[in-house]
């Protein structure tokens, strides 16, 4: 089966320059939206398409837009989340490097629909190439009259500004992003108020991921019914899945939501090298609960199916681990990451991420005890659901579910006083 590419150009093509993008129908949807559709009609269209956010949480996009105050008092902002840093996730980068005008067109339509003055694209600082590529595309869009004063003669004044982060995972959390964009440490805010009411500079703000915004043009162009026919009932449209780890062809694959995980691993990504057996799969970035091979072989990549299987779709970043690999080491790598990235604001997270990391290191070093396994269980429970943002939950799920789903292997680390898979496993 070929991929279904709505977001990305065909293999080997790059539509970063505006002439190429327009030659493939680019900006047609924006022209139609601004000239023929009312803002309210666009919000309704996005609602009825059932588009859900592609940044990890899967919140309905139209509903989020609907939370903006009805008085349309300005200024109002878009904060576009291009801080892609969930480990296992490398999809927004594909749009930024190969189809940046798609994002700009999505931002323009969203600006018209929501009476927005300016969009700030907050991009992780390490994405230097994507930053320059999007910057060149934004300059082209200004020159072509799609951005700036009186866009397409409609009276809309709309600016797109690019903003660089500087290396902090927490800035991908929506209120951490707002804090960082305002020039502070990226420590998340308490909610309420939600950003739609009080966001950037305490003004109404919608925060949407790069891929989410990039779906808006083809929804406007082809209609909500068309979009809903792709994917499954509550997970509509395509997404850019990323497959990494122990597969023959790691990379991104744009496919309808609801595609079986087994197809993604064994057909698109070519299966596991040298015919080794599958052991574990993280389906949506390392924040999401790991699945056993048995679970992974049966699940479809939709929101509902993954929740039913005891995980979540997250960012659709799939990390595959084969039979050689040690589950404690995987949990250790994840725990180390969250310890590094905790912003330090909430005690459960600041302390808990450190505890988890130390306990995993101890197990791997052969100094772990049966009581340590109980402590991991306890610490993850204290961390889950008790903090300002979801980083603590993610840290608890990310390593805690390795223990719950591969408990025997953790116990073996205690009884063997070290890693029983040291001879075959990856090094951490």
């Amino acid at each position: 089966m070929p991929e279904l590419r709505l977001l990305l150009p065909p293999v080997g093509e790059n539509w970063s320059r505006i002439a190429d993008y327009r030659a493939h129908g680019g900006y047609g949807a924006a022209e139609r939206a601004l000239r023929e559709m009312t803002p309210e009609a666009i919000v309704e269209l996005v609602k009825s398409s059932r588009l859900r956010g592609r940044g990890g949480a899967g919140f309905p996009t139209g509903m989020k837009w609907g939370f903006l105050p009805k008085d349309r008092q300005r200024p109002r902002y878009i904060a576009c989340n291009a801080d892609e840093s969930e480990p296992g996730t490398f999809k927004d980068r594909q749009i930024l490097e190969r189809n940046p005008h798609k994002l700009i067109e999505g931002l323009l339509i969203a600006a018209w629909a929501n009476t927005i003055d300016a969009a700030y694209v907050y991009m992780r600082g390490e994405y230097r190439g994507p930053f320059e590529n999007l910057g060149a595309a934004v300059a082209e869009a200004y020159a072509a009259g799609y951005l700036g004063k009186n866009v397409l003669g409609t009276g809309l004044d709309f600016d797109v500004y690019l903003h660089r982060g500087a290396g902090a995972y927490i800035c991908g959390e929506e209120t951490g992003l707002l804090e960082s964009l305002e020039g502070r440490k990226g420590q998340p805010r308490k909610r309420p108020p939600f950003p739609a009411i009080s966001g950037l500079w305490r003004r109404p703000t919608i925060v949407n991921n790069v891929e989410t915004m990039s779906h808006v043009p083809h929804i406007v162009a082809n209609g909500a019914e068309w979009f809903k026919q792709i994917g499954v009932e509550k997970s509509t449209g395509t997404t850019i899945f990323g497959v990494s780890g122990d597969v023959v062809r790691p990379g991104t694959y744009e496919l309808p939501l609801g595609t079986p995980l087994r197809e993604l691993i064994f057909e698109y990504a070519g299966g596991i090298p040298e015919g080794r057996a599958l052991k574990a799969v993280i389906p949506g970035g390392v924040s999401m609960p790991v699945l056993t091979a048995e679970q992974a072989m049966q699940v479809d990549m939709s929101h509902d199916a993954l929740v039913a299987a005891g995980s979540m779709l997250g960012t659709g970043g799939i990390v595959v681990l084969d039979e050689r690999q040690c589950m404690v080491r995987a949990a250790l790598a994840i725990a180390r990451f969250f310890r590094h990235e905790s912003c330090g604001q909430c005690t459960q997270c600041r302390e808990g991420t450190g505890w988890l990391h130390k306990l995993m290191v101890s197990l791997e070093a052969g100094t772990g005890t049966p009581a340590d396994l109980k402590t991991i269980d306890e610490v993850t429970r204290f961390m889950d659901g008790h903090t300002i943002c979801a980083l603590s939950d993610a840290a608890a799920w990310g390593s805690g579910w390795f223990l719950r789903r591969f408990r025997q292997e953790f116990e073996d680390h205690v009884t063997h006083r070290g890693c029983p898979l040291a001879a075959t496993s990856f090094e951490v």
Binding site: T89, G125, G167, Y169, S244, F426, E427, V428
Partner: protein
Amino acid sequence: MALSSELTQRISAEFPKYPEKRAVLLTALHFVQEESGGWLPKDVVPELAQLLEIPVIDVWEVISFYSMFNAEPVGRYHLRVCTNLSCCLRGARAVVRAFEQALDIRPGERTEDGMFSLGEVECLGSCGTAPVLQVNNRRYDEGLSPGDVGGLVARLRKEASTSKREES
């Protein structure tokens, strides 16, 4: 003046994009770091605070919070290898070891000649082309193996001897 008039102008040119000058802080620190050999000299901090009309401590808070800002000198080539899960599954640890051997330094250290510094970094969004190295917060070298490291180090040494320092 630690902050050149050219840098002051570049930073000030960012102000109109935002309702508050403070929002330019991260961008300003990137600009300064690129012009200062990849790190942030101490004496620039009060001047930045004054330009952005914010307390000095707020600048320090931001510098210490974000992993891309260096408060200490780094090598002419600042090498950061991703050691998150997808890169480790593809052999990142062996790549780090190869750099340690080739440069005779550990992560967090700098070579005596100031040419290289080495570090580990969290996920760079290169999981499909793992393992990845980022040089000077700029270019990515993807799909690395330990065998590539010697050639890469030699290439950078040669580049250093033939060109002036690239932007960090």
